[in-house]
């Protein structure tokens, strides 16, 4: 029932298609994913990126309160619980970002007047939390069998004061000049959602996006291997 998939995804992604020289190549941290580990939700997944770990559970398509129902598509709800303390405004805004990403990908029109709830619990936070939440949410939605038009993943980039690009930054590396998080889809690596904090030029934005798209290929390959492992057992 539990398939633990560890991938040593130490990927060296060469950024630097620009004329100005960038620092050495970027690498993603070690990934691990486990599916169907909770018995109550319809789908669940745990995603580990380095030391950052998020547990996701999906309930749906289930009953919805009349006040929240939408007549022609499913109502998607995302609940993000931090490791300590009560959820606050930051969690609310992250929930909205994750919900917008999921709504772009989930085929809600197939289940009108139902609700699909994604519950995310932060188990440990060591940088790139939003990207880890997006990956866990995607794996949990796949585990629950919710119809989707594509898979999606999250990638975080940090730009430090010298202009070096770091993919999948740790908490310490996130205290950089700018931190950008992108959600990309699996079909053509198109951008589904982006949230950024800090100071950067538009050339740097394009570079980060290109690096994130290259990194997302590795994440999708990891998804495929993880799911292949799961379905090969049956």
């Amino acid at each position: 029932m539990e398939v633990v998939m560890r991938a040593d995804a130490k990927v060296r992604v060469e950024s630097g298609t620009e004329s100005s020289p960038r620092g050495p190549g970027c690498s993603l941290r070690h990934f691990a994913c486990e599916q169907n580990l909770l018995s109550r939700p319809d789908g669940s997944a745990s995603f580990l990126q380095g030391d950052t770990s998020v547990l996701a559970g999906v309930y749906g398509p289930a009953e919805v309160k009349v006040s929240k129902e939408i007549f022609n598509k499913a109502t998607l709800e995302v609940i993000l619980r931090p490791k300590i303390g009560l959820p606050g405004v930051a969690e609310k805004s992250q929930e909205r970002l994750i919900r917008n990403t999921c709504e772009a990908v989930v085929l809600g029109a197939l289940h009108p007047r139902t609700s699909i709830t994604v519950v995310l619990q932060v188990v440990s936070d060591a940088g790139s939390l939003l990207a880890c939440c997006l990956n866990a949410a995607c794996m949990a939605l796949v585990d629950a069998g919710v119809p989707m038009r594509a898979l999606f993943c999250g990638v975080t980039c940090a730009l430090d004061s010298d202009g070096n690009l770091l993919l999948d930054p740790t908490a310490k590396q996130e205290k950089a000049r700018a931190v950008l998080t992108f959600a990309l889809d699996s079909v053509e690596q198109k951008l589904l959602m982006s949230t950024t904090k800090g100071l950067y030029s538009d050339a740097e934005l394009q570079q980060c996006l290109a690096a994130a798209q290259a990194a997302s290929q590795h994440i999708f390959r990891f998804y495929r291997e993880s799911l292949q492992r799961r379905y090969s057992k049956s």
Binding site: E63, G145, S234
Partner: protein, 268 residues
């Protein structure tokens, strides 16, 4: 057999090459007949067909997990791609996925729990997004004067007559001829438990060894609902619990482990 596969935008693959393999949401599948049409190598040299009807489009049925998108199939769930070739037509393609949540489908036989009685209609919980409605007249031999004896909390085995995404599902306990055919209120005692939908499909497959082995073990009554619910009843409570545990564990066991367990139970 080297086939020239057309990949118009680099990501659509032939359905034929992916049979029984894992497919992920977002992948596009090209049907066999489309491959010939799109193949660039043969564009200039179409053989002259004397029998024009031979190339008539076959009707391909798009099953669960697949959606039609243009003239291709879009995969919407993760699982193994399967194909069944019937006598006529192009066959059925579907994705075999592992799921716990049930979505009502017309014609499915399910086990429901009566949760409310309002006027002439029972509300039955079938595990979907909303309760199904069951009219009191939809039982064998039921008339306005002769009402069926159904209480809140009873188990009902019935089939869906209306089940689509836009309407509330409706179920009945008679077939099209008016006979019960095994449907109706499920008797006293026994145990109802939940398993995944994939396990139910496996157990209901034509030649499933698990059910035959179970029958040899203890005499039992068993009802499978396509919504993931199984009701089982044996002579004693202990036997019932053993059967329930064995069925729940069947999902994760290999054939040898299962045979070992059955052998051990048969001895004791």
């Amino acid at each position: 057999m080297a086939e020239v596969m057309s990949v118009a935008d680099g990501r659509a693959r032939a359905a034929r090459t992916l049979l029984n393999q894992l497919v992920l949401p977002g992948e596009e599948l090209v049907l066999p007949e489309q491959e010939d049409v799109d193949s660039p190598a043969r564009a200039g040299e179409q053989p002259l067909l004397l029998n024009a009807t031979a190339r008539a489009r076959l009707r391909v049925v798009c099953g669960p997990g697949l959606r039609r998108c243009g003239d291709r199939l879009l995969v919407t769930k993760c699982g193994r791609l399967r194909h069944k070739e019937p006598g006529s037509g192009g066959g059925v393609y579907w994705v075999d996925s592992q799921q716990k949540r049930y979505v009502p489908v017309k014609g499915d036989h399910v086990i429901g729990i009566v949760i409310a009685k309002s006027g002439d209609i029972f509300k039955v919980d079938v595990g979907g997004s909303e309760p199904a409605s069951l009219s009191y007249l939809a039982f064998e031999g039921a008339t306005k004067r002769n009402r069926p004896n159904v209480q809140v909390g009873d188990l009902i085995y019935g089939q869906f007559v209306i089940a689509n995404k836009d309407m509330e599902p409706e179920m009945v306990c008679i077939d099209s001829c008016g006979r019960a055919n095994g449907m109706g209120v499920i008797g006293q005692d026994g145990l109802l438990f939940k398993v995944t939908l994939g396990l139910i499909r496996k157990l209901l497959a034509p030649d499933c060894e698990i059910i035959q082995e179970l029958g040899k073990l203890y005499p039992l009554e068993i009802v499978f609902g396509m919504n993931g619910r199984i009701w089982v009843k044996a002579k004693t409570i202990q036997q019932t619990l053993i059967l329930a545990n064995v069925l729940e564990a069947c999902e994760h066991m290999t054939t040898e482990q299962r045979k070992q367990i059955f052998a051990r139970l048969a001895e004791s």
